[in-house]
């Protein structure tokens, strides 16, 4: 084969590579560069070395806000992995076995996914408004007025409520990944197991679940990234300050507030905002690498031991 033919694949990947470099790789390095400067976003940059990073991790006020926001992100990741994902799997199984009304349920679950996050947040604010929202009005009308609440105005409830709202909108995505994987499982295998006397749970546990590992790995990684990059609904519901007592403050909100809100240096702080974004990127990268290496290694090990068919 001539050299031209051997290298011809380069011509096909070059456009995508160039575009990816310009819009993804270059901004990343630019953000790292900006993080070493005091810069409002307009005018000259002042080189300050690692001062932005020092302030992020050790400044009394800023580090508290940082760790709180990061903690909320990881809390939400835990919610995704331990509550939302099992629910997604359960619903996918439900639809796959064609339970009565499965088409209706599938549509109802998917519909919120196509609604804009801004509208979902706005609707949530209306529904949970303490004075005029339908939840409190309903509770009052059925004699449960004592259970009315400030909802998003209660720092003890705001996070859980937000998780429910975000899940309501986003649950369909992971569900469809599971469903697609379930559709790929051989029906002959399941019928053979049924003939051999395996009940629904045994068939799920020893045939379907192992076969779902690709979908599980995907959903774990995507779900983690989803949890670590939350912004739109918390922004609408909690505002730029991240709700009452920063109860629904997340890293992207924190970035937005300080990059564009002018809260640290007394003016717009693009340098500090870049610092936050670099740190967040490194955290997401580390978590994703750990997950991929652990999960794929386990998958290969299970495969070599014949733990799945």
């Amino acid at each position: 084969m001539s050299r031209l033919n051997r290298k011809s694949y380069l011509g096909f990947i070059a456009p995508g590579f160039v575009i990816y470099t310009i819009f993804m790789i270059l901004p990343l390095f630019t953000a790292v560069y900006y993080s070493f400067f005091k810069w409002s976003g307009l005018g000259p940059k002042i080189f300050i070395g690692f001062e932005n990073y020092r302030n992020l991790f050790f400044d009394e006020r800023l580090s508290g806000i940082f760790w709180n926001a990061l903690g909320n992100n990881f809390k939400f990741v835990v919610v995704i992995l331990t509550i939302i994902m099992p629910v997604q799997l359960f619903i996918a199984y439900w639809v796959d076995i064609k339970i009565f009304g499965y088409q209706f349920h599938r549509t109802i679950i998917f519909l919120p996914y196509v609604i804009s996050s801004t509208i979902v947040g706005f609707l949530a604010m209306l529904v949970f408004n303490p004075n005029i929202g339908i939840i409190n009005i309903f509770l009052k009308n059925i004699g449960l007025g004592a259970y009315r609440s400030a909802w998003f105005g209660d720092p003890d409830k705001a996070f859980s409520l937000l998780a429910i709202v975000i899940s309501w909108q986003g649950i369909a995505a992971g569900m469809f990944i599971f469903l697609a994987n379930l559709k790929g499982i051989s029906q002959n295998l399941l019928e053979a197991a049924l003939i051999d006397g395996a009940g629904r749970w045994l068939r799920f546990r020893y045939i379907m679940l192992p076969a779902l590992k690709p979908a599980l790995i995907n959903n774990i990684i995507l779900g983690t990234i989803w949890g670590l990059t939350q912004f739109d609904i918390p922004f609408v519901v909690g505002g730029t300050q991240g709700g009452i007592n920063n109860s629904i403050d997340f890293m992207n909100l924190f970035f937005y507030r300080y990059a564009f809100g002018g809260s640290y240096y007394g003016e717009t702080s693009m340098g500090f905002g870049a610092t936050i974004s670099v740190v967040l990127f490194l955290i997401i990268l580390a978590v994703a690498i750990l997950q991929i290496s652990f999960l794929t290694r386990k998958f290969e090990k299970d495969g070599s031991e014949g733990k799945h068919l």
Binding site: L42, L126, P130, I132, N136, G153, G239, I244
Partner: protein, 413 residues
Amino acid sequence: MTSFKRILITVLIMAVSFSVFAGAAQEAGAAEPVTLTVWEHTLQFEAPLKTTLENFMIKNPDIKVEYEIKTPDQYYALLSTTIQAGEAPDLFWTNGTATTDLANMVKQGAVMDLTGKIDVTPYSDMAMKMTIVDGKQYLTPGATIGTRAVFYNKDTFAKYGLEEPKDFADFERILGILKENGEIPLSFGGMFSWSILFHFEPILAAMAPDWLAEATAGNARVNDPRVKAAFNKMLEWGELGYYGLGYLGVDEGGQLLAFSKGDAAMTITGSWNANTFNKNNPDLNVGAFQIPTKDGRRPLVVTYATGFCVYDKTEHPEEALRLADYLASKESQQIWVDQLKDVPGIDGVTTDDPLVSEIVENDIQVNSFYTILSEFAKEGALPTQLWEQDNVKLLSGMYTTDEFVEMLDAQLK
């Protein structure tokens, strides 16, 4: 004829045709009006802006003006981005020297010096103050006064035989009566930092107008007992249930909606929201007053409205200046007063709206707490941003009053 010759002739014909049409298009384009873009920061101001621009375009048929309305919380972020990209709108609203954004833009050469370029003769020094940075004017002035007021439902008051309060104690008595009768006395958006400001300032003005005068002159600190007392009064009313259930979960929209629907008897908010109530519920019978002091004086918190900057790198400076001049004119300002039911602040701009007359009924004019925070900020500090980020934490109890005022005071000269 060879195929090469045919191709060559075809290409030549196409090239000639293209240049003819391009020339015609250019000639046609030269006759088209210049297009300017204007940015505003809130939907509340869309109606008067639209009317103003339509009137301007009638008088100036060679200029076409398009406008975009952004949301307040994203406005400066978007503006900053477009300035960085060199694609800022030709004119854009700012709140002048109320925040450091204008000074920052001046430093970066993003806004045009308007000194002597537009007619501002009707405006007082007070009105011009918000437009001046380092002795030069960078903003068109506003002829309206932005103030705060207690808006009340006259029908609810009549139901309980209530009248406008005579003094501060009378106001608290009214709050108590409404609460006892199952009404929400004051609709309050405790989730939104600006709602908190517009709610707090009239309370401070009623309880400590002397502090405001002293602080304006630079002779009083924020950690003064009088300021703490006003904060504590605001918190006390929350504990007494005067703001309704869960007011920390209410944003500004919810606050205004609750009053508009008649679910709350009163609300304390900016004077510009008078028009909002009318739009939300034309049947609402609204009145307004200032919270009186303990000796019955009615203080009016005064902040002058601000206008528009001209982008220093606008491609149409002459046309942009013509628009800026019109925006500062009495004719334009009268539109804003009429449509927003705003309070006129210069001679020649008037209103006969009865609600506006009720809003401005006062015995003493005082400065805004936020303006004081802004004017006396230490170098590099931004107490207004601290206020905006953390005033909710005062309401939620995360900070005590003492802690909060000390934090604010530490940011001031």
